[in-house]
Amino acid sequence: MSAHAATAGGRVQSEPASAYHESLLRSPVFLGMVMFIGSEIMLFASFFTAFFYLRFVHDTYPYGGEFEIPKGPTGINTAILVFSSFTMHWALVSIKRNRRFGLVAGLALTLVLGLTFLGLQMREYHALGFVPSDGAFPSTFFALTGLHGMHVFVGATLLFIAFVRAARGHYSAAHHIGLEVTGLYWHFVDVVWILLYTVVYLI
């Protein structure tokens, strides 16, 4: 079973075995990440269910009391996260064309933008003026944004690992499945936030 093996910087990278290996979805690692993200989508769905259900039960929004959430500043934060998806894409495109600088710079920029997002989100929590135990809306609000923040943190950890490996020259145009997987996860985190921002903040 000659599986996925390619030379990268003089070292052989190996993945779990697969008999055939042409498209990305045939790569076990990539496919595994797709399925894991499917599971993650359902985890977010359970919290969105709570959000919509409680919203449906109550006549007013936000429900369970009077709560003010900042649309504008969070909009800027949203833009930062969306921009980080493009820098991630830049990193991926760069490695496919074997450009080391674009790869390392793209990853570093993505990581910095992600951490900025997290910092601004913490600042928002601090400035909100309500806490999770104040009512049903704060409960769902903190649960959803907190769950998302946790995912940004996990994504940033993956990015950090990818960044260190990229700096050490572990990736090549032929072999960079670790980057593909990290990128996919990062885009997922981004898309969830766009949905969350639209539903919770805007509508």
């Binding site: 079973m1 000659s2 599986a3 093996a5 070292r11 052989v12 990278q13 190996s14 993945e15 779990p16 075995a17 697969s18 008999a19 055939y20 045939r26 790569s27 076990p28 496919l31 595994g32 399925m35 894991f36 499917g38 599971s39 993650e40 359902m42 985890l43 769905a45 359970s46 919290f47 269910t49 709570a50 259900y53 409680l54 039960v57 109550h58 429900y63 369970g64 009391g65 999770p132 135990s133 104040d134 009512g135 049903a136 809306f137 704060p138 409960s139 769902t140 903190f142 649960a143 690992i161 050490r168």
Partner: protein, 812 residues
């Protein structure tokens, strides 16, 4: 008890995928390398640090109450479980990879495969080892959950209080259900699937062997938490853990809620692993429509786990938030709603009943087809209906909530979809009936449990349709009718299929045969006591006895006493199974590679399979169920047999020595009986004898029975006997050349009698080799000679097939 696979690692084919972890070289202090000792201290360290940090943060933020037992339990338990997996060694490889310690060029297989029983207590990446680890651990949980059930039945044997206060009683049934569902049924299917699925696909292992190991080791802390949830102030909200009971309940609820997260993470990781394995690791030629139905079932189940389990994680997160952070998800005074909990919980937990049933359906398809020697009826429809059940399973959750006060408009659609599920389920039942119709049914223990399953599961399915109907459900909600229904589908359904699967694959897993008589005794004890226990519950429920109450009206007393007695016998029947498994595993007769003459790939390798499953990647050429179809093949499997070395030629000593010396030598050697007629001089027979002679001194007795030649009409008996004499002489000469002591005769009895004559003679054989023509042409096989000999003599029997050209066919 353990199964040692004596294959050299260097034999491993050059798979360059991740099998082993290199971090756990068995050097260094026991405190530092991956071990139970490290698991204990690291887990406690993690827990203490987490509790300390949480307390410090609370102090820094100025909380009035700095230490809270809820907060301490939440953080302590979470990090204790993570620390346990770190300490036992699940992350050693990944950590080494992160810090760049491993030479990524060479994948080492140091953690793959079990070479002694100790390897079963370590992190191991071999799917076969993990499968057995799962099955043994989950069976221990089954015994604990069963003991709790016996507690429930002891309390309910008579009206009034027997052994448990109402509070303790709540704890008993809650812990019983949670342990049985989350720690026994779901993971034991993961264990069976782990062992069998990669073999069935023709793969060397799962796609992510290290993740597979992590999945298993996550289950252990989850299990400890579930058991602890009963030991600390008991978890008493029932397995559904409904709000507000859960939010207001004692500390045990926190243990349960966190235990579910780890059990769930374990399930999801296993499910992703199964999905990727099934999609990417099928052997060449193994198209989706050639996969055994158990693989189809695991595919559908894993999809359900991946998509459903996050919902129970979400529901328990919300319970934890409400308990620890005092959020308001389920708190009406804060604008929350308790019915929300039920929606989120059942959106997982209804698909979960199919997670607990679909793999069982897969097992039944295997067992029925193999043990009735017929192709499965409606292969594609069974596969499609499996997928259909999976899809429909997500549309029926609110039928658990007809009396919960949910929106009334949801009721009718949920009732309709629920009844719709009977269609794909019915397709399966009728396909199975058509499979065994006019088959050659072998009533092995596995087959008995499969047939028993069809009986009990249909009853459970019918009471399910009752419960789906709104007016009936409103009347029977929270009565013993529901208890009867769930036990008919979960015990009469899932547990029966687990037993069927365990008996079916026991020879493959352990390399030894189980005791068939004990297996049948186990089935009949289980089947009868199961029905005595759960059938009367239907009546109790219809008469209005509520479930989950420690006491009841005296008028229910008689039936409850019968139920309790049935329950105790049911518990005792498990002891028969345990005795059978333990004694057979230790010293049962050695199992041949394919005792059931099954076609699927796992039976084409030795029992137990080699450490890397297949010497060469198999080539799949047909469907897996073509029993009785002449010339049909599922796969071409190449097995590399090491060339046998003949130990000591003793023939010279034997011919020259004195009679006493001769006797002494003969009795010190292993005595092998070879039974063959047409095929006696076949290459495979000689090879089988040489293989044994290569490992220990043997002497051989050959009998060539003429009583039942099996291939038509013998016209000239004298000529047939002369031909037999000449074939025998040919074999004896070949053996003499190989230095193997052998004698033989042509007898006129039929083969079964000939074997018995030898077994009852002064020098009984310790092993038997039966050689026949291929299945389609062998009269001996048509009469189940191999099985009958094995059952009667209880000796290891090897069946060798020799394809001698058919004289009639060539003459025509």
């Amino acid at each position: 008890m353990a199964v040692a696979h004596a294959t050299d690692v260097s034999h491993a084919p050059g798979g360059d995928h991740g099998h082993g972890h290199g971090g756990g070289a068995p050097t260094g202090s026991i405190w530092l390398r991956g071990s139970w000792v490290r698991a204990i201290w690291v887990s406690l360290l993690f827990a203490c640090v987490a509790i300390g940090i949480a307390t410090l943060i609370r102090a820094a933020l100025g909380f009035g109450e700095v230490y809270s037992s809820e907060v301490a339990a939440t953080f302590g338990l979470t990090f204790w479980a993570i620390g346990f997996t770190v300490g036992i060694g699940c992350f050693d490889y990944w950590w080494g990879y992160l810090i760049g310690r491993h030479d990524w060029v060479e994948e080492d297989h140091s953690a793959h495969g079990a070479y002694s029983w100790r390897d079963y207590f370590k992190v191991n990446t071999d799917h076969k080892v993990i499968g057995i680890q799962y099955l043994v651990l989950t069976f221990i949980f089954f015994l604990i959950g069963g003991a709790l059930a016996e507690g429930v039945r002891a309390e309910l044997a008579q009206p009034g209080t027997q052994i448990a206060s109402p509070g303790l009683y709540n704890g008993l049934f809650s812990a019983h259900a949670t342990i049985m569902i989350f720690l026994f049924i779901i993971p034991s299917f993961a264990g069976l699937g782990n062992f069998v699925v990669p073999l069935m696909l023709g793969a060397q292992d799962m796609a992510f062997p290290r993740l597979n190991a992590l999945s298993f080791w996550l289950l252990m802390p989850a299990g400890i938490m579930f058991i602890a949830s009963f030991m600390v102030t008991p978890f008493d909200a029932g397995w559904t853990n409904y709000a507000p009971l859960s939010v207001q309940g004692p500390l045990g609820v926190t243990f349960f809620a966190i235990g579910v997260q780890f059990a769930g993470a374990s399930s999801i990781a296993t499910a992703v692993n199964f999905l990727v394995t099934i999609v990417t690791m099928r052997a060449p030629g193994m198209s989706f429509w050639r996969m055994p139905l158990l693989v189809w079932a695991q595919l559908a189940t894993s999809s359900l786990v991946v998509l459903g389990t996050p919902f129970i994680a979400g529901s328990q997160f919300m319970v934890l938030y409400d308990r620890v952070m005092h959020t308001g998800f389920f708190e009406p005074t804060k604008g929350g709603d308790v019915v929300l909990y039920q929606h989120i919980f059942w959106f997982y937990s209804h698909p979960a009943v199919y997670i607990m049933m679909l793999p069982g359906f897969g097992i039944i398809s295997e067992v029925l087809s193999v043990h009735s020697r017929k192709p499965i009826f409606g292969y594609k429809l069974i596969a499609f209906s499996t997928v259909a059940i999976g899809v429909l399973g997500f549309t029926v959750w609110a039928h658990h909530m007809f009396v919960s006060g949910m929106s009334p408009w949801l009721r009718i659609p949920m009732m309709a979809t629920t009844m719709l599920i009977a269609v794909p389920t019915g397709i399966k039942i009728f396909s199975w009936l058509a499979t065994i119709w006019r088959g050659v049914i072998h009533l092995t223990a596995a087959m008995l449990f499969a047939l028993g399953f069809m009986f009990t599961f249909v009853i459970g399915g019918l009471s399910g349709i009752f419960l789906a109907v709104l007016p009936v459900d409103i009347n029977t909600s929270d009565t013993y009718f529901v208890v009867a229904h769930i036990h008919y589908v979960l015990f009469g359904g899932s547990v029966f299929t687990i037993y069927a699967g365990l008996y079916h694959w026991f020879p493959k897993m352990t390399g030894r045969m189980y005791d068939e008589r004990l297996g049948r005794l186990h089935f009949w004890l289980t089947f009868v006591s199961f029905n005595v226990t759960f059938l009367p519950m239907h009546w109790l429920g219809l008469q209005g006895m509520p479930r989950r109450v420690a006491d009841y009206e005296p008028r229910f007393g008689d039936l409850n006493m019968i139920i309790s007695i049935g329950g105790f016998v049911l518990g005792a029947s498990t002891l028969v199974f345990m005795y059978n498994v333990i004694s057979s595993w230790a010293r049962g007769p050695l199992a041949p590679a394919n005792p059931w003459r099954a076609l699927s790939l796992e039976w084409q390798v030795s029992s137990p399979p080699p450490i890397f499953n297949f010497d060469e990647t198999p080539q799949v050429v047909g469907g897996p169920y073509e029993y009785g179809v002449p010339g049909a093949r599922h796969a071409i499997v190449t097995v590399h047999t090491p060339e046998p070395e003949v130990a000591v030629p003793v023939t010279a000593t034997l011919t020259r020595g004195a009679p006493e010396r001769r006797e002494a030598i003969l009795s010190s050697m292993k005595h092998i009986l070879v039974v063959a007629n047409q095929t006696v001089a076949g290459e495979a027979v000689i090879a089988a004898i040489r293989r044994r002679a290569g490992t220990e001194p043997v002497h051989v007795t050959v009998v060539v029975p003429q009583g039942d030649s099996g291939d038509g009409w013998v016209i000239d008996e004298a000529a047939a006997r002369a031909a037999a004499e000449s074939r025998l002489a040919q074999l004896l000469a070949a053996l003499r050349d190989a230095g193997i002591a052998a004698e033989g005769e042509v007898v006129s009895s039929d083969p079964y009698e000939a074997v018995l004559d030898q077994v009852e003679s002064g020098r009984p054989p310790s092993e038997i080799i039966i050689s026949t023509l291929p299945r389609t042409r062998s009269g001996w096989l048509r009469k189940d000679l191999v099985e009958r000999v094995r059952d009667r003599t209880r000796l290891p029997v090897e069946h060798v097939v020799v394809n001698v050209p058919d004289p009639e066919a060539s003459g025509r």
